[in-house]
Amino acid sequence: MKKRLATVSLAGCFGCHMSFLDIDERILDLVQLVEFDKSPFNDFKKFTQHCDIALIEGGCCNEENVRTLQEFRANCDILVAVGQCAIMGGLPVMRNAIMHSNDPLRECLEEAYNDSDYVYNPTNEIPNDPALPLLLDKVYNCTEVVKIDYQIPGCPPSGDTLWYALVALLKGNPYELPSELIKYD
């Protein structure tokens, strides 16, 4: 039976998803192995049923990320953190460095929308539409919020890396990647 696969991009740049598309024509092989459920690839907004595997890109920077991640945990058996943002927080986590301030979040917003020399914002307003999810006090990586089963490092992991890792997981084979695929220095 085909496994059900879901994917999501939280506080990430969609780079890992783009990289996933680099598996090129192998996507034809992949659809022989899996059925896509909730994912940006097919634009399913909701889970249709319980899934076997989920690929998570990005960490959590706002409440909506947290809810989505918790939803994935509840609806999928295996969560795979894909890429640096999901594993360590990645670029977004740099805002956690504003930790010596009394009000780090406000300082972050001021810097982004007012104080920076490269911002043109004559009204000095910080976006605060009720439709915008609230930001978290800092950026959390996925492991800090839910239990994560596997991690695929990279920024982004290459199409080959993702392909080999996913196939190994689907077939229950040992996860052995040649070092050139996971060595980044």
Partner: protein, 613 residues
Amino acid sequence: MEEKKRRLFVKQSCEKFKNSRFRLLDILWEIQNGLGGIEGPVMEQVGKLIGVSRVHVEGLVTFYAFFSDRILGKIIIRLCDDIVDQFFGLDKIIEVFSEELGIKPGQTSLDGRFSFELTPSIGMSDQAPAALINDVVFPKLTPGSVKKIIRQLKEGVPVFKVDDTCGDGNNASALIHSSVMNNIRHTGKVILSDSFLPEKGLERCLNLNPAEVIKEMKDSGLRGGGGAGFPSGLKWELARKAEAEKRHVICNADEGELGTFKDRVLLTERAPMMVEGMTIAAYAIGSSEGIIYLRAEYAYLRPWLENILEKRRDTNLLGKDILGKTGFHFDIRIQLGAGAYICGEESALICSCEGLRGEPRIRPPFPVEKGYMGQPTIVNNVETFCCAARIFEKGFDWFSNIGTDKSAGTKLLSVSGDCKKTGIYELAYGTAVADLLEMAEAHDTAIVQIGGASGEMIGRIDFNRKICFEDLATSGSVMVFNSQRNVLKIVDSFLKFFIDESCGYCTPCRVGNVFLRERIQKVMHGDANHSDLDYLRQLSNLIIKTSRCGLGNASPKPVLSSLEHFPIVYASHLHEPREGLQRQFNIQKALEESRRIAKRRSMIYDPVYYDTN
């Protein structure tokens, strides 16, 4: 002090030590004591005078805990914050100090009279909680006594006159005059026995040739008393064999290991014996210069030691042609440390003697080949030198018959914590932990930490293990904890100590220990699951493998040791994630700041008003 006077004072301080950069530690002591601190312009001036960069000077000032780059108060209170002190009411004592002085730890009062600081181990664990006020030790503090002390200090009573009581033994002598107690609970055959005949060993040595002295030393089976247990005779032989014009003998009196205080007692009661041992060593390896590296916490013993050295010079036991042996010259100077745990490591200690930051050197070359000033150097513990004197008095076979096969002689154990009779026990190697506990009248003991923070933490099941190099090696520290004490709190306290003492040179030690402590605290708060224990093990092994020196090799020991001997304590704190959600993640807390800034509630995580009403 005005600018001109200050510059003159700094100039004189440097001249006192001949503007030598190798005596920078002494120069900085002089300035710290005179000016109350070593500020930027002073560092610059010192650098110019002795011919090093300002950064070099600043490196020392910031490395050593007893130096300060800002001006401290006239009266500096350093309260010991070891785990033993914590278990004996440290919090209350800190509170009383803060209340009476109006300053928190780390601060200086506005009138510039008082500075209040917390410091690790001052070697008074048997009479905790204890504090150093300037040079003077105030053991066994209680909230009442603290109030009394501060009141007197505020009235202007000089620090050394505040506490008029005197301890036992030489503590009562005019040169020490301290209320510290020796607390010698058990005297063994070798060091603390009364049967010692001074200078007999030295006289006998001088009739032998150095090679014979080294041979006897090797045959005695004596191993270093500082913890590592390197055969002393072999060390002497290696130093003798190394080709050089000059060789050095250094006595390591920098016991910084948490919970040890044996050297304090030896320096008080057996200093002549130790110096005799050093003299024998000097004769054996062919050295004419010796150094006693005295830890800053024991500065109150310095006049006493200087006096002993002076007396020995007068009686031709030090100096030229000692005891009529032509050509055998030997003299000793005291180098005061400045509060760095790592200086107990021999190569770091040598750096410190040379007026550098106390950073361990890469080995080889070992100090016996290239040590102090690049010349062959032996560094031995206070206890080791005492044993040496005794070995030559009584004969090596007498000595090697005491103890076990591979650990000859006796060991001084510093027992502290939850037992009635804390203090010094001199016991033959091979004594079981249980026997020691019985002697110390420790009931309801659950945890024994052998060998200080970097040693082993054992539980009841291991109390029949023996204290010797074959089984439980130790520097002498034995901390006893009863069943009410929290293992994790002890581990956490040790890690804090290592984080503070890490010199920051290599990343595994500087960063790794912080991560270890974070994870231990996660366990303490009940937020951890079993994978966190795997992480602790992996990270510990990584730190041990990749650190540059012994501090990093030892710092994960409390974690590994407690994981091995107290798995149930860890297990009882673990919670597996419920439905895959991590316990420590609190969405309400994470949103608090955002709600305040956005001035609205969360659409996802806050209940809608009409839902609840």
